[in-house]
Symmetry: C2
Subunit: 432 residues, 2 copies
């Protein structure tokens, strides 16, 4: 197993507040070609700092991937930093210039003086053509280390990684060195309870790591089969199939223990799973939201093709809107309050009947920070589901913690999970 | 200006896909107390790797903040790693134990054997009490470096940083070393055009850096006044006020050049700005969304207190819903298509009149990836605004690029920006 390090270059990345999608992508893709990313670093557009980061990385990693700092401005220092760190001087390379000229020509422009700087490549490095933008990248073998420089724009970095970096790394990696991963997304059980249920599944020294990661969307369980590296026990030197089957066997055991809380596996999201069930069963959905404010609709419509199964979403913040759009009786709200099981049921029923959809889903609750009382505290949420079965809506009460945003997220997840479980049951009934 | 490095510990952070909120928070807070974060590192739960990261950081930084790896499990290796990297052996510290016992007692539990491990602290380090959770942190002066270890849970790390780390760092920092930053959020102008308009505002050697950062929400302009460090020109050694006024003067120049595109400054978001105007003017808003699928409602309701000015949101994916909930004439959709200026106008008008709100806002468009045609391609979006003025809705056409998620985000931002500009104008009229 080769050790990988990612260095993201850019002062704006030090400021934070952005998801570093390049690192995410690279980590995901390097594992299957036998490179385990064990370090990530972020540095600003300061040449000395980039040089320091490259030197540190080259000492501890076999594969170093830099992203960013290849643009035409004087702030783009990655080329110079690699040249200084490795002692391979820059020179203008015809193949880099040619690729850039060709790309710019399709946009009807000659390269500017600044852009010509982008053709400066360290001696001995191989130029990587950029099929999307103008900045070429490069790959340099230095000492026992492979240094790869890619642009910071995710679409460009991804294309270049796929075309020019991944195939070679894959060819060099032994089958047993590849990292395999299984990811199971759960909702409804706290991390500590999941941890208890999974005790003893993964024993030390078997070459598989178990990880739990909690968020407002639930707890994600990750099983990773990986090669040996310092500090972790050695993995058995078996072939890929043998390792895969250990991983698959352990994943089966995990599913057996916590399967009813698993709503999705791998890269699939809750909204994709729910959408798949709705499409498969030819059902149309209508949603009535209060405290989630449109988040359920937003999440459902992130999925391409959702217009085939999502009819409408009514976000009824005011009581008047609940009366007018959903037909919730004013008396019901006066008697039980807008945040109550009774109103959740009436909302789900109302949106389903008015939209002629097959399923109605509703949420009403108190997202905070204001609006809570002793009897109805912040975090109290009711979810309603109306499917026309037994002529009544089903409701559930939740008490979530966290801030407004976390409560909205947990409430949307709880509502979609309630819908998913019903869809699983009806799907099973239809098939049997 | 002291150099800072943040080391985030946790194998799950190497997997990616999560926003590292701790780094964001720490970077924001360290600047004003005279520490410029120039490096960020991420390492897994591997003791050797954490030791390597600490040694590298201690060589190049004056202040090293570690987050994570202080929990009770055997995977939590930060304590051991600091002990090994610095040669300060661990011992169980009564003050750490006492704080933990007290906290657990309020939950009615004695510490478990695993939790007792959390009281192991490197020799010479000062224990930092955790006012939120059970894991204590610590602070250790080693060689010329300050090493701070905080828990990975953001709420705990933030509290401990504020209570026990920030005050001392502030006391140690000279006034002229503090980093000051001005952030202006713009929408409606491409990055390259903004760059052109801002040419020459910030000249080299003035100790102020100008940064542009594009996202689907627009382009963020950052002006940072910072101390000198290798690779950047030296800042003038003036007092804090002199530096602040340079920064304020430059910010004024930036505002003069691009002010009409600035929708918010600092940490404020578009939805907060719009909410503030609506609340100030006592106006109620109703929204009719199509392709944004609830995102506008979700964003508006992220703001506490939004129920006072947001009446309702109708997400009308189907034509039938547009007819029933908004009263859009069927003929109009047949004639112009659901994605048209005419339908956007009718949606904004319909939701305003039916809800009796003061303002109606609408969006209709093609988020893709399917559903586009030559005449109406993916990314075509119409925004409608109906305020009852002049008895007609105002509409605008946009052609956005990007994937489904980016188009939804840009469309929601364009709609809120159109609303904001109207609110600014009416606010000015009311005041004058």
């Amino acid at each position: 197993m080769r050790c990988g390090e990612i260095i993201a270059v850019g002062s704006e990345l030090l400021l934070g507040g952005r998801l570093d999608t390049n690192s995410l992508f690279l980590t995901e893709r390097l594992g299957p070609v036998g490179v385990e990313v064990r370090f990530k670093s972020v540095v600003g557009d300061v040449e000395d700092d980039i040089v320091a980061a490259i030197r540190t990385a080259a000492r501890r990693a076999d594969v170093v991937v830099l992203t960013g700092g290849l643009g035409p401005t004087v702030d783009d220092r990655t080329r110079q930093a690699v040249a200084r760190a490795t002692g391979c001087p820059l020179s203008r390379r015809p193949e880099a210039l040619e690729g850039m000229r060709r790309r710019l020509a399709t946009w009807g422009r000659p390269p500017t003086a600044a852009q010509l700087r982008q053709a400066l490549i360290p001696k001995g490095a191989e130029v990587l053509a950029n099929p999307v933008g103008s900045a070429p990248g490069f790959r340099l073998s230095w000492k026992s280390c492979l240094i790869v420089a890619l642009p910071g724009v995710p679409a460009e970095a991804e294309q270049m990684f796929f075309l020019a970096v991944a195939p070679e790394l894959a060819a060099e990696s032994a089958a047993h060195e590849r990292i395999e991963r299984r990811v199971l997304h759960t909702f409804g059980l706290p991390e500590s309870d999941l941890d208890g249920k999974l005790q003893g599944v993964v024993r030390a020294g078997r070459g598989v790591r178990l990880g739990l990661l909690a968020s407002p969307l639930g707890v994600t369980v990750t099983l990773t089969a990986c090669g040996a590296h310092p500090g972790t026990p050695k993995a058995p030197k078996a072939g890929r199939n043998a390792r895969e089957s250990v991983l698959d066997r352990l994943t089966r055991i995990v599913r057996r223990r916590i399967g009813r809380y698993v709503y999705a596996e791998g890269a699939e999201t809750m909204e994709e799973v729910v959408g798949r069930y709705l499409a498969d069963q030819g059902l149309r959905l209508a949603v009535a939201e209060s405290c989630t404010g449109g988040l359920i609709g937003h999440r459902l419509t992130q999925v391409p093709g959702s217009s085939t199964y999502l009819d409408r979403v009514a976000v009824c913040y005011s009581n008047q809107a609940k009366i007018e759009l959903l037909g919730v009786p004013e008396d019901l709200m006066r008697q039980h309050g807008a945040v109550s099981a009774e109103v959740a049921a009436a909302m789900a029923r109302g949106i389903r009947i008015r939209s002629h959809a097959g399923v109605g889903l509703s949420v009403t609750g108190i997202a905070g920070p204001g609006g809570g009382t002793v009897m109805k505290p912040v975090g109290l949420v009711y979810v309603g589901l109306d499917t026309g079965e037994n002529d009544r809506s089903v409701t559930r009460e939740f008490r979530f913690h966290g801030d407004r945003q976390a409560i909205k997220m947990r409430a949307s997840q709880a509502a979609l999970e309630m819908l998913r479980r019903w869809l699983v049951r009806t799907g099973a009934r239809v098939r049997s």
